[in-house]
Symmetry: C2
Subunit: 392 residues, 2 copies
């Protein structure tokens, strides 16, 4: 009854190149280096790697992480600003249950990370799109929205944004808007949840300064919570990420019953990550995958050159995604069916909008999962489907 | 600012023998065997141990677990009855958010696992003590309570119980009451959450049949959800446990936004656990720690013999706990202060009752954390404190 249980979330279908998955290329997962880190962890820390851990996460990981972010000019005040989570999406779930009550409004960017929309909806909260223009969230118009809501006696519990190498657009918010959002948070006490998952995957210049660090550096007193992840930089199966937050928020997170009970949410893996970081393996691995993902981005962008008559091909400075606006008259839905016949797939744009209220003629391509050779194939298949679609 | 971040939940205080912690003895954590399992996992499964996993948990772990439980006559229908969680308390948190809405009533045993009370309270739900007598939950009177609640238009969302080698009492519910609870659930559709954390730590005869399996074997059609854990049998730092549930409940769990997003809640560790299980390391380790914890139980029980004039010393057939009723006139609170002066501590009984409405003259001793030699010392210190307390 019921058949075999899968091992993985996505196991691939014969021949289909599905660029819809924001997954790492299996060949870029650090299998050997992680094994070494595990052995060294169990040798160095012994039973302490297996016991009930500190609720906010183990000191060795937090201390390394702080040093690492310090070197990137991205740290906060001190190690008490950290909470180690079981991945970024788990962090979003914990923050939602800690910072909201059912029925609260959560403002979100549009388009934005589709799973975040689902995670918030689970709370449940009322999702509302913050005003945007072609450059992303518009701080001034967001403030007007806050005022209108205030007149109705309502106040959003938080604003969610992926400002750096965003999912799904690959774009980053300008420095000016970052500053304006931090100011807005400081003035109105609006909590901003900054999903910083893609920061480390910068392919040209360093990533823009986070809202979290901007606020700390300038002493604005904003309410920014930053979410980081090891899923893209090390491995998603680890389920490891972190939250940077004001100390009272960290305290509230550690007092969640099951977090306190469990001694943190992923202690043994966090201890191994501490070793992986301290040994230099993280920096080395990151430098390797940055080159590899840059190559994949360049390959996909170049290979899509043949459809530049129909579609503007962006070249994101970091992250894993290309966000394409389809030509007049072509919808993501119709292109999807046609593309699958050509052996390629993508993520339809509408799932990245609250209530699917947009993105019907936009698609997201991930260049993370496949080899450069496969990306060339995928681009050629997609181009063929597009040419057909435009021809009608 | 803020000082060093701790590595562990409990790092010990100089000289104090704190029997309040339900933690494993560090010397019994399988450091070397877990290292071997990790290496073999990364060799056998390669990148599949590091990628996004199946939302319900990876097939290799579920398949081994099913085979293992089958051998213990404790399995369910098939592998689709399993959801791999990040520990038992995480499982309770997920089940609460899945099976209840804020304000629902959750019935609990008294006394019961104190962290479960906190986890339920986080939901938030209304905690209500189910009727008990000296043998534990009373099914008949619980049914009367359900009827009274029904007259008020209310229906408990679930009943929580640790029926086997319970935390904090160490006792197990009788077969007759197990059968009656399963019948009650089948007739009234009351969901029973069976916390089965201590099942594998049986020191004499095999553990009693779980409510989960009883229902399956007899085909009662009850709504039993069974929670299992690797925290006591392997290591708490792993954050790994499981839920046995009807298939539609498993489906709802896998559709939680952050579970679906993350590809399960602890994939890499689950894959290593699969190897640890399949290799025989689990069975070997379990057999070793059963002997060791049995010895610790026997040691503590024997060493407490000198106070048997004041206190009945139980000898639990499994688990980690002794539950003591203090002599007339001695409260847990006053004994606590006195005991600490003698260098020993324990868990006060009241925290195991809803709203602390009981247990004021009861205490829980864990014999899991310390060596037999330390347990002899602890018993002698506690005895001295007790003799003083009785003398007034």
């Amino acid at each position: 009854v019921g058949g075999q249980i899968a091992t993985l979330q996505f196991e691939g279908q014969n021949g289909l190149l599905d660029l819809g998955w924001g997954h790492p290329d299996p060949s870029l997962l650090p299998v050997r280096a992680w094994n070494t880190a595990t052995t060294n962890t169990l040798t160095t820390f012994g039973w302490k790697a297996l016991a009930y851990g500190n609720a906010a996460g183990p000191g060795p990981l937090i201390e390394w992480l702080q040093t690492h972010l310090e070197a990137e000019r991205e740290s906060g005040a001190d190690g008490h600003d950290f909470f180690i989570s079981a991945g970024a999406s788990h962090a979003l779930s914990l923050l939602t249950s800690t910072m909201t009550v059912p029925g609260d409004i959560v403002l979100v960017d549009s388009p934005t990370y589709h799973f975040a929309l689902r995670i918030f909806a689970d709370a449940p909260v009322e999702l509302m799109a913050a005003p945007t223009d072609s450059s992303g969230i518009h701080p001034g118009r967001t403030e007007e929205l806050l005022l209108r809501l205030k007149r109705d006696g309502r106040r959003p519990a938080m604003l969610y944004i992926v400002p750096t190498f965003a999912n799904p657009t690959g774009r980053s918010l300008s420095d000016e808007r970052r500053r304006a959002l931090v100011d807005l948070s400081a003035r109105t006490h609006l909590t901003i949840v900054e999903d910083d998952t893609y920061r480390e995957l910068a392919y040209e210049s360093p990533a823009p300064e986070s809202l979290w660090h901007l606020d700390r550096r300038l002493g604005c007193g904003a309410a920014v919570l930053r979410v980081g992840s090891f899923s893209k930089t090390v491995a998603p199966g680890l389920r490891l990420g972190w939250i940077n937050a004001q100390r009272d928020v960290v305290r509230r997170l550690t007092q969640i019953g099951y977090v306190d009970s469990g001694g943190g949410v992923n202690h043994s893996t966090a201890m191994t990550m501490a070793t992986f970081g301290r040994s230099g393996a993280y920096t080395e691995h990151l430098s390797h995958i940055r080159k590899e993902y840059r190559l994949r981005r360049d390959t996909l962008v170049a290979a899509l050159g043949e459809v530049e008559d129909f579609v503007t091909i962006p070249k994101p400075l970091g992250g894993w995604f290309l966000w394409l606006s389809l030509p007049e008259g072509v919808t993501a839905r119709t292109l999807e069916a046609r593309s699958r016949r050509h052996g390629v797939a993508f993520a339809q744009g509408s799932q990245f909008f609250v209530a699917n209220a947009g993105g019907h003629s936009q698609i997201r391509l991930s260049f993370s999962l496949f080899s450069p050779e496969q990306l060339v194939d995928a681009a050629s298949r997609l181009s063929a489907a597009l040419v057909e679609a435009v021809a009608g």
